[in-house]
Symmetry: C2
Subunit: 164 residues, 2 copies
C-alpha cells in the first residue's frame, strides 16, 4: 500500500479528561456533551471504547487553558453517576501524521507506533480518520516525537508546528 | 459556533476487535500493528483509551470480511500478554457526520449524540477528526441512525451510503 503522508504535526498544549466506568446505555454521551456545549467548551477529540462489563470509557481533549472549565462540567457528570471514575491529564501533546489516500491505517500505524516505540515514547491515546493518525503523548516528549515520526516517513521539509 | 455539516454517511459492515488490559508501556502498539501489517489486514479506525490501573484499551475496526484474519493475529497478542482480554463484535456499522470548519466538536457532538439518544441507539465507540465525527452502533440500527443524524443536521439531500 502506497503510504502518502504529506505532513507531521504537533499540538503542544493538550489536556485530556477521561471518564471511566460510564454506563454504556443510550443517552449518556448526549447528556455529557449537552453540559459541555452549554459551558461553551471547545472540544478537540472525543474517544470512546467499551468494556465487557457493560460500561464505557469516554474521554475528550481540550486546549490546556480550558481544563478548569471542563473539570467543572465533568464534576456534574460524577454527581449523576457516582460510580464513574474521572481523571485528568494536563501534560499532554498530540503528534499526528497526515496524508491523503490512507485507505487503510495499517502501514501508517505500524510506522508511526514503531517510531514512537524506538524513541521510548509511550502512547496514551490513539484516534484516526481517513486523513490522519493521532497519538497523545506526554508534552515534554513532543519535540522528540515530532522528529521521530517525521523521520519515519522520510519527510524532508520541516515539520509543521501546530495541530493540522 | 456555525456548524457546517456537509454530509452524513453509513458504513455498514464493520467489525471491531477490542484488547482490554493491554500493558500501557512503549512498544506495545508497535508490536500489535507490526503483526496486523504483516498479515496485510486493512484497518479502518484505531481507538485507544487508558485506565488508571496503568493499562490501556486498544481497539481497531476492519471490514467484516477481514475479521477472521484479524482474530488470528490478535490471538498471537494474547499469547504474549495473557492478562489481556480480547473481544470481538461483528455486528457493527459506523455512522459519521462530515463537515469542514469543525474547529470544535462540541456542537456537532451534542447534536449527533442527542439524535442517537432520542432514537434509542447506543453508541459503542466514538472517534473524531477535524472533518469527521464517527460513532460505532449496532448494524441493524444503521439505517435508523443515518436518518436520525441526517435529520439532526437538517440536511435536505439524500444521505450518502458508503463510508466517507
Ligand atoms: C457511553 C455512551 O456513549 C453511551 N453508550 C451512549 O450511547 O450514550
Ligand atoms: C497501549 C500502547 O499504546 C502503549 N501505550 C504503547 O505505547 O505502545
Amino acid at each position: 500500500e502506497e503510504i502518502v503522508i504529506s505532513g507531521v504535526s504537533l499540538k503542544k498544549d493538550v489536556a485530556q479528561i477521561t471518564m471511566d466506568h460510564v454506563p454504556n446505555t443510550p443517552g449518556i454521551a448526549a447528556d455529557i456533551f449537552s453540559r459541555v456545549a452549554k459551558a461553551n467548551i471547545i472540544v478537540d477529540d472525543i474517544i470512546q471504547t467499551e468494556h465487557e462489563s457493560g460500561c464505557a470509557t469516554l474521554s475528550f481533549t481540550v486546549d490546556s487553558g480550558e481544563l478548569k472549565a471542563a473539570q467543572k462540567v465533568v464534576a456534574e457528570v460524577k454527581a449523576n453517576w457516582p460510580g464513574c471514575k474521572i481523571s485528568y491529564d494536563n501534560e499532554l501533546a498530540k503528534v499526528s501524521a497526515v496524508g491523503v489516500g490512507m485507505r487503510s491505517h495499517t502501514g501508517v500505524a505500524h510506522s508511526m507506533f514503531r517510531a514512537l516505540a524506538q524513541a521510548k515514547i509511550n502512547i496514551n491515546a490513539i484516534t484516526t480518520s481517513e486523513i490522519k493518525l493521532s497519538c497523545l503523548i506526554s508534552r515534554d516528549q513532543g519535540p522528540q516525537a515530532l522528529r521521530a515520526v517525521h523521520k519515519a516517513f522520510n519527510l524532508e521539509s520541516a515539520p509543521t508546528r501546530q495541530g493540522l
